[in-house]
Amino acid sequence: MTDVLLQVSGLSKRFGGFVALADIDLDVSTGERLGLIGPNGSGKSTLVNCISGTLRNETGSVRFDGRVMDALPPHQRTRLGLARGFQLPRPFHTMTLAENLRIPMLYVVEARGDTVAGGVDSRCLALLDMVGLADKAHRLPKDLTQIEMRKLELARAMAAEPKLLISDEAMAGLSHHEIDDILMLLIRLNEQGVTIIMIEHIMRAVLAFSQRLVCLVAGRKIADGDPQAVVRQDDVVQAYLGS
């Protein structure tokens, strides 16, 4: 667990005059389950976008698996093993569920020169089975419910066989039971060796999941450590509840 997989150092991002992220340092070890919390607008999604390459950070750098990734476009970062789910699910809406999962297999796994274990078709079904969507393999995403959409998003991220998975509010708007469902999935993935960063507003889920918790407020990291200690920290409480 001392092996650093993702290393963010001195990362800043501004939109015009607005500083979205200021001097963020963050290390994530291989196999870790990290929770990332913060009030709305605190820069969580911006941080994810900078790590995954959708946005370019002005200063600082992102190292992943020993490589500096700053100049790489998002698809190359995905090929190196960094997968993300989007806050609002973004399925390929003209493709069936199975085809949705096929894309990362064709463009990540096979593009790396690896072969998909057991063949693409059966791997698609296996992944859909893992998230409980096997019976809808040949349906279109528009037939899915909100939670199924989130599960598809997760399955598609997993189809890229990532080393690090960033789950961006995969549980917002879901019921108690559905949250447990997704939580179980994520923990199972972690047990299979995938490092996971979970961004979440739902405290019960974050606390159940995280081994370590990081809190962002107004673009700054104000806390990093044991989850129970972080949520009791004065400035964290203040950011959420006001003083």
Partner: protein, 317 residues
């Protein structure tokens, strides 16, 4: 159906088409048929970028005219057989497509379309002011009376060449559709951000689509000077090429290779018939009315009527 088998079927269909045209034994059949075939190539080419990746290109006349004018240049400088000219024209317009793509593909949606429209205007201005290819006066092309091949007269030869080009264009479009590339194109159409996150190199794929699309449009344009025998910028850059080429895939359906073919045959034939029986000015009106009708009644085009319900408008694996 596997690709080689499909190509055999395409060639059979083409042979039947040619035999039928020979049976009619009227050179006007070849004149009219050439235009329909030309639109099959144009519509198929447009659909590679517009239908598969969702980037709507209004600059069709530019690519088409680059092909046509490259033949004019070659005709004056280094005369060569027409098939070679088509290759050169295709390469020239393919490179133009690549360049256009590189400059404009960071724009999305309507902005991309407007940029391509501007490109066509720029290209027309350049050609109009280039006296070597005739400038605004236009260029005359003397075509040989007969061809060295099987005693065909020249219009039959042009027809045959355009037939071969449509076979190639359709075969390429279908091969793309069922390949890794086709899946990549479709992800770009659906959601570029998600495509990148799934490892799809979107910029590279868009450039490939632009190059292929532009290249085939140029190939469709390369024989044009020999067909019309007099080429001027106003007709080479005619707006009707853009309108027809976009309307045909939209009416036929953009999701698969068959849509542009159906659209081109349907509208192209209707226009030719109307030109002969009523008036040539009617042809654009036909397209306009059909487009309005189809947008309302069949937003997924004619193939949308026949696609299985669940997969309507989707990709057939």
């Amino acid at each position: 159906m596997k690709n080689p088998l499909f190509i055999v079927w395409l060639i059979v269909a083409a042979a039947v088409t040619f035999a039928a045209a020979r049976l009619i034994d009227n050179s006007y059949a070849f004149f009219a048929g050439y235009v329909v075939l030309q639109y099959i190539v144009l519509a198929t080419a447009w659909n590679i970028l517009g239908g598969y990746t969702g980037y709507v290109n209004f600059g069709i006349p530019a690519f088409f005219a680059i092909g046509a004018y490259s033949s004019v240049v070659l005709h004056k400088l280094v005369p060569m057989p027409l098939p070679l000219m088509i290759v050169v024209g295709g390469v020239a317009s393919g490179l133009a497509g690549l360049g256009t793509g590189y400059l404009t593909l960071r724009l999305r949606g309507t902005f991309f379309s407007i940029a391509t429209l501007a490109m066509a205007v720029v290209m027309q201005t350049l050609i109009t002011n280039w006296t070597f290819v005739g400038g605004s006066r236009g260029a005359y092309m003397i075509r040989p009376a007969a061809t060295p091949y099987f005693g065909l007269d020249y219009i039959q030869y042009l027809f045959l060449i355009m037939l071969a080009l449509s076979v190639i264009a359709v075969a390429v479009a279908r091969a793309i559709e069922h390949s890794r590339l086709g899946y990549g194109f479709a992800t770009i159409r659906d959601d570029e951000l998600a495509a990148e996150a799934s490892g799809v190199p979107t910029l590279k794929l868009k450039l490939i689509a632009c190059t292929l699309s532009g290249g085939f449009m140029g190939m469709a344009g390369a024989p044009l000077p020999y067909y019309v025998t007099y080429l001027d910028p106003a007709s080479a850059f005619s707006l009707s090429y853009a309108v027809n080429t976009i309307a045909m895939p939209l009416i036929g359906g953009t999701a698969s290779w068959l849509g542009p073919v159906i659209g081109a045959i349907l509208i192209g034939t209707l226009q030719q018939v109307a030109t002969v029986t009523i008036s040539s000015a009617l042809s654009l009106l036909i397209v306009g009315l059909m487009l309005v009708g189809f947008v309302i009644m069949a937003p997924k085009g004619i193939i949308g009527w026949f696609a299985p319900k669940e997969k309507a408008g989707g990709r057939v694996p």
